[in-house]
Symmetry: D2
């Protein structure tokens, strides 16, 4: 349940409401959503109590929400959340938000070359990892801040907003300075201190679904960020871990449709990590758009065979150009379009 507070309510009204709730043994959590105070209650309540509450001074509206997630629910906010990334680029609106780029920032040349190409083909943003989560300590761990500087240069040259990952609070402090969107990766979807740090940021957060996270858990991780003060969360389905091993993960497109149905947040799809196989990226990208995804995040590399990470699932520059053409006709069929810039 969410109680929204009247805008001109006196400050002590909230305290009074909380005191009343406390007296009947109900914990409440005060948050702010788009400048408005809201009181979140994670408990069901008797009807008579609700009626009494609704009559209290300062109470604007009481919204029953039978899910664990509250502020990210469509019951709280029926209309889609649209996030402005730059003057020209939004996500959640009619144009699809297509993020493209290599898995890792490997060096300046490849990054700029890739950025120019994906910009020319109509991408909405640039991806590239500076801090890489790697299963083995002996694998390439990313260029760190040097990588962030290269991304910033690519943005200067192409105008593309930059999406890159942070894996800890320290990295977040740094990444936030460079990135337009900060990614929280699948392995950190339930890194709660990191979610709380993201909640205090003014940058939009790309929140990937964990390898074995339920849709409810995914939305609850988004709730951590939104209830902590940052309303701009982009959900990203990137495949879940199942018994099937012929693809890297199992892309769960029903999760996209369900998240769109139950939440007002934008949802995008990562067909590269979901499949791990170049030949499947295009069909899955098209399926994602048909399923209602608000965008894609796709790995593109000028020479995938030489990639320091994720080569087998990276598209070549030509593949990406073709993907954009094929996506366009699917987009039209579902009332969407590519970015217009």
């Amino acid at each position: 349940m969410i109680i929204t507070v009247e805008e001109n309510a006196e400050p002590n009204r909230i305290d009074e409401i909380l005191r009343n709730l406390s007296e009947i043994g109900i914990d409440a959590y005060v948050s702010e959503y788009l400048g408005k105070k809201v009181i979140v209650i994670d408990k069901s309540m008797e009807k008579t109590v609700m009626e009494r509450l609704s009559l209290m001074d300062g109470v604007e509206r009481i919204i029953p929400i039978p899910y664990q997630f509250k502020l990210v629910s469509r019951l709280f906010k029926p209309e889609n959340t649209i996030i402005k990334i730059s003057d020209l680029i939004e996500i959640g609106n009619e144009p699809l938000f297509i993020i493209a780029g290599p898995c890792s920032v490997e060096n300046r040349e490849m990054m700029l070359h890739t950025a120019r190409h994906v910009r020319a083909e109509g991408a909405s943003a640039l991806r590239g990892g500076a801090f890489k989560p790697r299963t083995s300590p002996y694998s390439f761990q990313g260029l760190g801040e040097e990588g962030l500087e290269i991304l910033a240069e690519a943005r200067s040259e192409t105008g593309l907003p930059v999406v890159t990952e942070a894996m800890s609070i320290e990295q977040f402090d740094l990444v936030e300075k460079y990135a337009d969107i900060v990614q929280i990766g699948a392995r950190n979807m339930q890194n709660f201190p990191l979610l709380k740090r993201a909640a205090r940021s003014r940058k939009p957060i790309l929140l990937k679904r964990g390898l074995s996270a339920t849709i409810t858990e995914w939305l609850l991780s988004a709730e951590y960020i939104v209830s902590g003060g940052n309303p701009n969360v982009i959900l990203c389905e990137r495949g879940i871990r199942t018994f099937e091993q012929s693809t890297r993960n199992t892309l769960d497109l029903a999760a996209v449709a369900l998240a769109k149905k139950e939440s007002h947040l934008p949802v995008i799809v990562d067909p590269s990590h979901a499949t791990g196989i170049r030949a499947l990226v295009k069909p899955m990208a098209k399926a994602a758009v048909a399923a209602g995804s608000d965008g894609l995040i796709v790995e593109v590399h000028p020479d995938p065979n030489k990639a320091l990470s994720d080569g087998p699932q990276s598209l070549t520059l030509d593949d990406f150009a073709q993907l954009m053409r094929e996506i366009e006709s699917i987009a039209k069929a579902v009332g969407r379009c590519l970015s217009r810039w």
Copy 2:
């Protein structure tokens, strides 16, 4: 590896080839594919042995196939298999093959009513279970032969080919007489005696993927049918079992793209069982078509709230009409169309 035998080879040539293989300790399996004798070998072979074999009388071609499945592989047959269902209806060709109807045949009225409606909206075939696999012995088990008779009547009236399930060899003998396509359900994907019975049938087989079957196992079950003499297998992805419980199963559309890539058999998708949620059937149906599916099998019921099984995932007649309109635009975007009849 598959050895194809020259059409005019003398009958004893095959025996000779087998004798040669046997002498070097290699088991072989003789089959027939579209009237042509083929010898299947499930073992790798040294290059010199292959060269020697290729020079033997009667040997037409040696096709190395590094998969466990052989005859269903695209390496054996690069072009798509197109299955003729009736004079007007094929599957695997440009028009999508859309099967619609209730989960169970419940009675004559509802079946005929549904059949007329889905025919009018452009469905390619009619579904309806006469023998129902039910988790509990206390659930409705289907009408049996009475259900088959009702299906036959619906076909007479509408011209729609009929798809229905058999769960045992006995049921197969009966179902085969009534159905145009015999379904082998997810729970029977590895019912090998049933697969061997299906192999001896002249009716096309709709082979659903098992709840936890890998793509390779699914293709090997198809291989049982094809190597046993029935080339007409339609693969059907219907969702796999994973940790995610907010949908009935997890629809694995990458499996559709991968099966289409590795096999020449047609592949369709069941968005009803895959999701278990009416509101997700349409987006998943569209995603399936965008991913390259050759068709759909969709549960439609005139009054889902009163359905004896699977009500929550059944489309109403109106839902189905709308689905067909929405599918059409996606179909066009990927170079497909709806059935033209």
Copy 3:
């Protein structure tokens, strides 16, 4: 809910009870359990209805069972079911029931050799597949009836009861003549026509849990057999399919403890298929006994490297001897023992 009927009730009492239930829209299923008529109702009921029912002539007891499975529930029958296999051998009692033998019956010599050995080491029964469920049509499919004859000979010589699998109704008719316990394998746990056939048999049934079957589904498959007239079902946990690939399956020992808690049926464990790795069979066998398993089914082969199937998971004869010694001390620690014969 189960209604037990008084033993000396007049035959028409049941019809009357059913008529009463039918009038208030409640379906009921009449079954017989150990010679006693029972009426099974798969629906919740208002308290007043229950009270009225309890006063009807012929009604002995009404047992509310809030699970889908009824007759196999401990709420219906609190005490353990003990199944007599031969004059000397029972399952479900204090002595553990240890089934040992090769995956497949390969030939007479190896079968007799293995049987003598496992008998000498204290095994309770002999396993060996005559009809083999194989993923590929090109793999060894078993010796069929010849294999059954060899098993019967091994029994004659050693006195060991024989456990072997049937995959279809036809095979069941044949296997039933030879076997002391008929196995229904994991892939057929939801082969409902086969379960119904097993229900009509007088032989005990070893029901393996399906690769991705929930515990409830497993118990419901047992319910098919018990409600159909055969009370002698032995449940067998053999590992489930998960994302983990370093073992063949994931042994779910909590399922054993939970099945023992919720059902009165005996439960045994197959550590060979569960792990697929010889070195893990012994620790998992011991863990199974510690968890409360009533027995084990273990693959043993005189020369695992030459086995036609499942070699890597088969114990050698020496391994088995050592397993029995190690099991014995665990058995004592949990108040069990090895078979005394």
Copy 4:
């Protein structure tokens, strides 16, 4: 592959070896294990290259390791790692290491009460969360430093070493000051910055397996800690996420046996989180010990019904006393014992 360096080798020998490797394009990682320099190479190498390397000055031994994990492998160190926790307590040796206590530190009274009780029953260490990873932002998040102080007091009074979790580098800095063993939870098993921080600690690390982590990934996370300088890692299996929902997770005891076989690190089991059901904790604890586990971590609460978290899976004080008695007889059967203090 690991190259161990002679103890008295001149410092520049390592540089020379690295230079040689670099010249042939091989990356190497220098680490220290128990005071000895080691060079880790995550790549296979030709035999001739290995022979040449083995002749270089300073090279003591070359150990080929065909796994991704190296220093934690038994091929590197065949004997069990035994970790000294206090003067009286070790883990990995004959006595089982039993950690007991509540899920969360809730208040001083309950913590001291529980600590005294589990100490009296023979527990080896005390658990209790001060920082709690909670799926919902609206759930109790733990007492923070106040909780750590209470744990320290419980240690002072009982002598029990304290195990508690850190979820971020900042929390680690704090927890390290209070705890005897720092826990990295399942959700952080691949929080690589946190693993790197743990590698720089002198406290032993309890590394829980991730919800959907493979055994190899789990060992690679341990490798992060060991290769970064901290050899004292305790692995903890706590159940994995599967389709089965009647238990909270699926306890994977084969993973315990396999981890013990492939790694020299101690492995313990958490039957509380693995099952989520009080009645299953005891059978699974016994099964764990039978499977070769070096210990247990068990949730115990004086009044589980009032627990702020994980009540349904917590043992009462009496349950725990009984568990210890039952464990003892299993321990003896596998050549182990309870802590002797």
